[in-house]
């Protein structure tokens, strides 16, 4: 048993902390999210330079060969500083290529992802799918030269800045069955691809993306997987574990900001933290943090090492349920204990609130994962 971060993780954490303190303060972030693209190319280049993007890419393709556990400190830092650059989307993209790609696809894509040069997003969720990963109505029709893709994907996070999409589409079969889902690599500038972009509540960029008779060559299919659903589930579990770690960092910030406020805000001639009614609530927030951190660690370890998919799913769902509850509890309490100041856009805490609110639902809310957990018993 050893819960200490490795030397390498510590170094990563320290280098991110230095970067955030210098170049990613809350004021800098405010300018970044208001900019045209909604993210900073400079910050992205710096993350690539620090090696963050290659952490979980196999060593033979220019990465460090790590897993979700190795990304824990990175994701916590992302949550703490509310970093909006698409670190998670890239980690996902790399995982798809590494898990399902052909040797050729790995050779041509993974080094570019590790260097931060290839930007990717996962275009999967559709209208009416809610959090059901098997709900895919988009179609990939075989043509003489490859495939023609039709369909519409919703709220593709980081879609607007992606050059390449991993698109799920049904090669055969009915709309919601688990069979015959394929994955395709589609460039966003391909004819027939159109994006409608938006800013999200948590200040990321997302796109609804439609595909109208988009022609791709046969080698655009990711791997030769007849049914990619198990790959999708595996990668989304991986992403879920990572977002749990991000939540842990955001909760840590919310707690430290709230504790600071309780100690410095005075009313009735004393710090409001001297009121026992508020002390107990702060203590409960700290307990939430510890429980969430434990479950996030468990989920990261499971997506790295668990070979039985059912066991992996159970652990990831359990983690997401616990973390979603902690996200709601801590975010709501942090605003309440800040009083009016917590409602203000000026303070970082209200932005952390928004990110925690969205993380609680990202990759499935607590209800979705309770249902999945129950179905696996």
């Amino acid at each position: 048993m050893n819960f200490d971060p490795s030397e390498e993780q510590r170094l990563f954490a320290a280098s991110i902390e230095r970067f955030v303190a210098r170049d990613y303060t809350f004021e800098a972030r405010r300018r970044i999210v208001a900019s045209h693209d909604g993210y900073s190319r400079d910050a992205w280049a710096a993350f690539a330079e620090l090696g963050l993007i290659g952490v979980a890419i196999p060593a033979e393709y220019g990465g460090l060969g790590g897993g979700a556990v190795d990304l824990t400190t990175v994701m916590e830092a992302v949550g703490e500083a509310l970093i909006v650059e698409p670190i998670l989307a890239r980690a996902n993209g790399a995982r798809f290529v590494a898990r399902a790609g052909t040797a050729e696809q790995k050779n041509s894509l993974l080094p570019a992802i590790a260097e931060g040069k290839l930007t990717m997003a996962f275009a999967h969720s559709e209208r009416g799918a809610r959090y059901d990963l098997a709900h895919v109505t988009s179609r990939a029709r075989k043509t003489a030269a490859g495939f023609a893709i039709d369909g519409e994907k919703r709220v593709v996070l980081h879609g607007p800045c992606a050059r390449m999409l991993v698109v799920s589409a049904r090669i055969a079969g009915d709309e919601t069955g688990p069979q015959a889902i394929g994955l395709f690599l589609v460039n966003t500038d391909e004819p027939g691809v159109s994006l409608a972009s938006s800013r999200t509540l948590d200040e990321l960029r997302a796109a609804d993306i439609s595909f109208a008779d988009v022609r791709v060559p046969a080698d655009a299919q990711l791997g030769e997987v007849a049914n990619a659903l198990s790959v999708i589930e595996e990668v989304v579990d991986y992403a879920t574990a990572l977002v749990c770690s991000e939540a842990v960092g955001a909760i840590r910030f919310a707690n430290s900001a709230t504790l600071d406020y309780l100690k410095t805000r005075t009313q009735f001639g004393v710090p409001i933290g001297s009121f026992q009614a508020l002390q107990h609530r702060m203590v409960d927030m700290v307990i939430e943090y510890e429980q969430a951190k434990s479950m996030a660690s468990l989920a990261c370890a499971a997506v790295d090492a668990e070979t039985d998919p059912a066991r992996r799913k159970r652990i990831v769902s359990a983690a997401k349920i616990r973390v979603a509850d902690a996200c709601k509890h801590v975010s709501q309490e942090s605003i309440q204990l800040h009083g009016g100041m917590g409602m203000s856009d000026e303070l970082k805490i209200s932005h952390t609130f928004r990110r925690l609110t969205m993380i609680a639902q990202q990759f499935g809310d607590a209800d979705h994962h309770l249902e999945r957990l129950a179905s696996l018993r």
Partner: protein, 393 residues
């Protein structure tokens, strides 16, 4: 015991509902239902319709335009308006400044201010909270120094709702800096927002909305005639007003409408190929809120019944604020959850013609409603009131 309205009360409820059906403008109602921002013009339009009908100020004395309704009728009217989706009018003039003037104002003050409030010609805001004086309101530091028949006001108010659309502000200010009890040096002033030296700075909330402001006073000149009640008696006025502020916070009718909306919305969202409302996990959560609301509506009626018997409203009213706001928050949270992944978008980026504004309003609304357990005396302060005044702790 009879939990039902009397025949007369039922007839009154029907009269109000019928009238609302005929006279509440469809476009205003739609704006309320779609959670859109209401402008001053929108509020004024609805205000004028109610004023024309004679229903704008039910609780006022009859000679000033009140309706002479019983407390139960007033409650029925408020809840019917909320249920119908009528624009919620600002309380600061009609429900806060006016009762203060009736109780403490001079004849000249009544004649100057009440008619424009009734007609909706002048909007008011409330200058209470300060950066250092929130829950501990009596520690406020905005000063008013008297020079002959004028006060000179300096200081700052914060979280001032509607200051940017208001014509007047009623303010608690410190007229005596060194009193033994800090409550004693406070006075209640009516200040014209156009007076020079007043600066209004928007405070944008986390959902991007501009509802509240900071108001700065820099050597603002106020006639002594605009002081309500005696100098140093502002706290008495404020305490009187707090009772009024908390009378309508349960908002049963609005929450009942939102509950219906939630069920309708959740029946249009699908989960596992079925309507979300048929999902037992989600359905149970809706039921819990529905039960809480059902209980609160009866609790509210029980309190009203006590009031009707001539008993003064006690600290129990704080409970209506606590439960009412918790229910409002739970409803916004379930709407956001019901939207699922579609709750993420917040604002379109140029060129997006497929943007769904209703979906995109649900998560911001959830954010916005966190304010309800903070404003008008935070729910922590409400619990203190119950503990101290009702339970003697």
């Amino acid at each position: 015991m009879d939990l039902n309205y009397s025949a007369e009360e039922r007839a009154f409820r029907d009269e109000v509902s019928d009238w609302l059906r005929d006279y509440l403008p469809a476009d205003l109602r739609q704006k309320v239902l779609d959670y859109q921002h209401l402008t001053r013009d929108d509020l004024q339009r609805w205000h004028a319709i109610l004023a024309l009908k004679g229903w704008i100020a039910p609780s006022w004395p009859q000679e000033w335009g009140g309706t002479a309704w019983s407390v139960v009728q007033r409650y029925i009217f408020e809840e019917a308006c909320g249920y119908a989706g009528a624009p919620p009018l600002l309380p600061f003039g009609l429900l806060m400044c006016a009762p203060v003037l009736f109780k403490f104002g001079t004849q000249a003050q009544k004649e100057r201010f009440l008619r424009p409030i009734y007609n909706g010609d002048e909007f008011w805001c409330q200058g209470y909270s300060e950066p250092g004086a929130g829950s501990d309101l009596a520690s406020l530091r905005t000063t008013a120094v008297r020079h002959g028949d004028r006060y000179v006001v300096n200081g700052q108010k914060i979280w001032t709702t509607a200051a940017h659309i208001a014509d007047w502000i009623f303010c608690l200010v410190r007229t005596s800096p060194a009193t033994e009890r800090k409550q004693d040096g406070i006075s209640f002033l009516l200040i014209d927002m156009r007076t020079s030296g007043i600066t209004v700075r928007p405070l944008i909330l986390m959902d991007g909305e501009h509802e509240v402001n900071e108001v700065f006073f820099d050597d603002v000149d106020v006639p002594v005639d605009n002081r309500v009640h005696e100098e140093g008696k502002g706290w008495t006025v404020a305490k009187y007003l707090l009772g009024h502020e908390r009378m309508n916070t349960a908002r049963i009718g609005t929450s009942q409408r939102e509950l219906g909306r939630l069920k309708e919305f959740a029946s249009m969202q699908s989960k596992n190929g079925k309507p979300l409302i048929d999902d037992p996990r989600f359905r149970d959560k809706v039921s819990r809120v529905e039960i809480e609301l059902m209980a609160l509506s009866i609790t509210n009626l029980r309190f009203l019944d006590q009031l009707r018997g001539g008993r003064a409203p006690g600290a129990e009213v704080s409970m209506l604020k606590i439960k009412g706001t918790e229910i409002q928050q739970a409803l916004t949270e379930l709407m956001m959850e019901a939207a699922g992944p579609a709750a993420q978008p917040f604002a379109p980026v140029a060129g997006n013609d497929r943007f769904d504004r209703l979906m995109a309003s649900l998560a911001p609304r959830y954010c916005n409603y966190r304010k309800t357990t903070i404003y008008a005396g935070s729910n922590e302060i409400q619990r203190n009131i119950i503990a101290k005044h009702a339970l003697g702790l």
